[in-house]
C-alpha cells in the first residue's frame, strides 16, 4: 500500500524527460507569420495532441519537427528545435536521417505509386533494417498488422497502393511510417479519412506506440485528443495559448479561448 502510494507520488513529482524542445520558434511563409515565438517541450514516450482552429499553424509546427518545411521554398523557420538536446537545424544534421528518426503521417494519404509491399519495404530497405527477404517480409507484415490493415491487403500485397480506398491508403501510410521504427511519430489528422472501426484501431495503435515512441498528433476531433493524448497544446493564430495535461485541458482549461474552442463556442 505504502509502496504504491510512494510510486504514485514519485511519478507525479518526477519531472518527465523531454524528447523535443522548441524555443522561440517563428515560421514565415513569405510575409505570412504562421508560427509566433512558440516554446514547447514534448515529453518522451507520451502522446501529445495539437488542437486548434483551421489555419492556426498546427501542421506548420508539426512539419518543423522533422524539417519537412525545408521542402517549401517560401518557408523560413527561426528559433531552436532540439531533439534530445541536439539542434535539428544544425548544418551537420542530414534531414533524410532526421526523418528516419522522426517519421510522419500526413493529413492526406500519399502512398508511393508502387505496390503495397514496396510502400512499406522502402524505408527499412534504404536504412538497412532487414538482413534478408524473410526479415523484410516480417517487418512488412508486422507494420501492416499494427496499422490495422493487414487482413485487408495480405492477399494483394503486390498490387499498387494507390488502388486502395482513402481510409486504407491512410493506414498503409501509417504502416509505412512505423516500418522504420522511428523514435518520434508525427501524425497530421491521421484518422480524418477513417471509419469509426479503423479510427479505434489507429487509436489503439497510438496507445501501443507510446510504450516505445514519442507521438505527436494533430487532430480536429476533441474526443480523439482527449482519448489518445496525455498532453495537449492548443494553438490559436500561430500561438500556443495553452499547453498542459490533457485531463486538465478537457475538464478545466485555464484560458477562455481554449474553453471556447473545445466546447464548440464561437471564439
Amino acid at each position: 500500500m505504502l509502496d504504491t502510494t510512494q510510486t504514485l507520488l514519485t511519478e507525479r513529482t518526477m519531472s518527465k524527460d523531454i524528447k523535443i524542445s522548441a524555443k522561440g520558434v517563428d515560421v514565415f511563409y513569405g510575409d505570412t507569420h504562421a508560427i509566433k515565438n512558440v516554446d514547447l517541450e514534448i515529453e518522451n514516450k507520451a502522446v501529445t495532441a495539437f488542437i486548434g482552429p483551421s489555419g492556426c499553424g498546427k501542421s506548420t509546427f508539426l512539419r518543423c519537427i522533422n524539417r519537412m518545411n525545408d521542402t517549401i521554398d517560401i518557408c523560413r523557420v527561426t528559433g531552436d528545435i532540439l531533439l534530445e538536446g541536439q539542434d535539428i537545424y544544425a548544418k551537420s544534421v542530414d534531414p533524410v536521417q532526421l526523418r528516419a528518426r522522426v517519421g510522419m503521417v500526413f493529413q492526406k494519404p500519399n502512398p508511393f505509386p508502387k505496390s503495397i509491399y514496396d510502400n512499406v519495404a522502402y524505408g527499412p530497405t534504404i536504412h538497412g533494417l532487414a538482413k534478408n527477404k524473410a526479415e523484410l517480409d516480417e517487418i512488412v507484415e508486422q507494420s501492416l498488422r499494427r496499422a490495422a490493415i493487414w487482413d485487408e491487403v495480405k492477399d494483394r500485397l503486390h498490387q499498387p497502393g494507390t488502388g486502395l480506398s482513402g481510409g486504407q491508403q491512410q493506414r498503409l501510410c501509417i504502416g509505412r511510417a512505423i516500418a522504420t521504427a522511428p523514435e518520434v511519430l508525427l501524425m497530421d489528422e491521421p484518422c480524418s479519412a477513417l471509419d469509426p472501426i479503423a479510427t479505434a484501431q489507429v487509436e489503439e495503435l497510438i496507445d501501443d506506440l507510446r510504450q516505445n515512441y514519442t507521438v505527436v498528433i494533430v487532430t480536429h476531433s476533441m474526443q480523439q485528443a482527449a482519448r489518445v493524448s496525455q498532453k495537449t497544446a492548443f494553438f490559436h493564430l500561430g500561438n500556443v495559448v495553452e499547453y498542459g495535461d490533457t485531463n486538465k485541458i478537457f475538464t478545466n482549461p485555464e484560458d477562455s479561448r481554449t474553453e471556447s474552442y473545445i466546447t464548440g463556442r464561437i471564439g
Binding site: 476533441m222 474526443q223 482527449a226 478537457f250 475538464t251 478545466n252 482549461p253 477562455s256 481554449t258 474553453e259 471556447s260 473545445i262 466546447t263 464548440g264 463556442r265 464561437i266 471564439g267
Partner: protein, 239 residues
C-alpha cells in the same frame, strides 16, 4: 462560466433544458419543505398527505434529469465547463430528491404525531430550523443559477447554525423524555424530524459545493466544521 453560445444551438438548448428541470425540482422541494413544516405545526394531516403524494413528482423529475443527462453526454460529449455543468446537474438532482424524501418523511411522522398529545415548546424551534433550511435552499439554487460562488460559500457557512439548532433540540427532547416517559414516542418522532431537517441542510451544503466546483473546477476546502456533537458530547449525561 461561459456566457458565449455554442455554435450548435441545440447544445445550448440541451444544457438549458436540464438546468430548467433542476429549477423545477428545486421549486417543488421548497414547497414540500414549507408545507411539511406547516402541516406539522398545524397538525394538518390533509396537507401532510399531500406532501407525501407530491414527492412522486420530485422522484419523476430526478429520473428525467438522469436520462436527459445521459443523452447529453452521449450526443454532445461535453467538456470543460459543459462537462461540469452536466455533472453538477446530476449531483444536485440527487440532493434535491433526498431532500424531497425527508419532507415526505416529515409528512408521515406528522400523521402519526397528530394522534398523540402535543409536546409543548418545541414547535417554534423546529419551525425556525425548517425555515432556515428552506431559505438556504432557495439561496443555494440562486447561487447555482447566478454561478455565484460567494453566495454559495455564505450558504455553506450557515449550515452550522442548522447543526447548532439540531443539537439544542436534541437536548430539549431528551429532557422531555426524562421528565415523563409517556413523551418518549412523540419525542422520538420529533427527534427524527429534527434529524431529517438537519440532513436537509447537509444536502443544501452539497449543492453549494457543486456551485463552487461548477465555477472554479475545484471542490471547496473542508472549511466548515461539523456541529453535530450529540454522539460525543459528554455533557449529555448531565442533562
Amino acid at each position: 462560466m461561459m456566457d458565449q453560445e455554442h455554435i450548435a444551438s441545440a447544445f445550448d438548448r440541451d444544457l438549458e433544458g436540464v438546468q430548467a428541470l433542476i429549477m423545477q425540482m428545486g421549486g417543488l422541494v421548497e414547497t414540500a419543505i414549507s408545507d411539511a413544516a406547516r402541516a406539522l405545526e398545524m397538525r394538518d394531516t390533509e396537507l401532510a398527505e399531500q406532501v407525501r403524494r407530491n414527492d412522486k413528482l420530485i422522484d419523476a423529475l430526478e429520473e428525467q434529469v438522469a436520462s436527459e443527462v445521459a443523452r447529453v453526454i452521449a450526443v454532445r460529449a461535453p467538456t470543460a465547463g459543459d462537462l461540469r455543468t452536466v455533472l453538477s446537474v446530476l449531483k444536485i438532482s440527487g440532493n434535491l430528491e433526498r431532500m424531497g424524501d425527508y419532507a415526505k418523511n416529515l409528512g408521515k411522522r406528522t400523521s402519526v404525531l397528530s394522534e398523540m398529545p402535543a409536546i409543548t415548546g418545541t414547535g417554534g424551534a423546529l419551525r425556525r430550523m425548517t425555515q432556515l433550511v428552506n431559505v438556504m435552499l432557495k439561496d443555494a439554487l440562486d447561487a447555482y443559477i447566478q454561478r455565484d460562488v460567494e453566495l454559495a460559500e455564505d450558504v455553506r457557512q450557515r449550515d452550522s447554525e442548522v447543526d447548532q439548532m439540531y443539537n439544542a433540540l436534541f437536548r430539549e427532547f431528551l429532557t422531555h423524555m426524562m421528565e415523563d416517559p409517556r413523551n418518549i414516542t412523540a419525542c422520538m418522532h420529533l427527534h427524527f424530524i429534527a434529524k431529517n431537517v438537519e440532513r436537509m441542510g447537509d444536502h443544501v451544503t452539497s449543492i453549494c459545493e457543486q456551485v463552487v466546483y461548477l465555477v472554479t473546477g475545484d471542490m471547496p476546502d473542508e472549511g466548515r466544521e461539523k456541529q453535530d456533537r450529540t454522539s460525543t458530547d459528554s455533557a449529555l449525561g448531565k442533562v
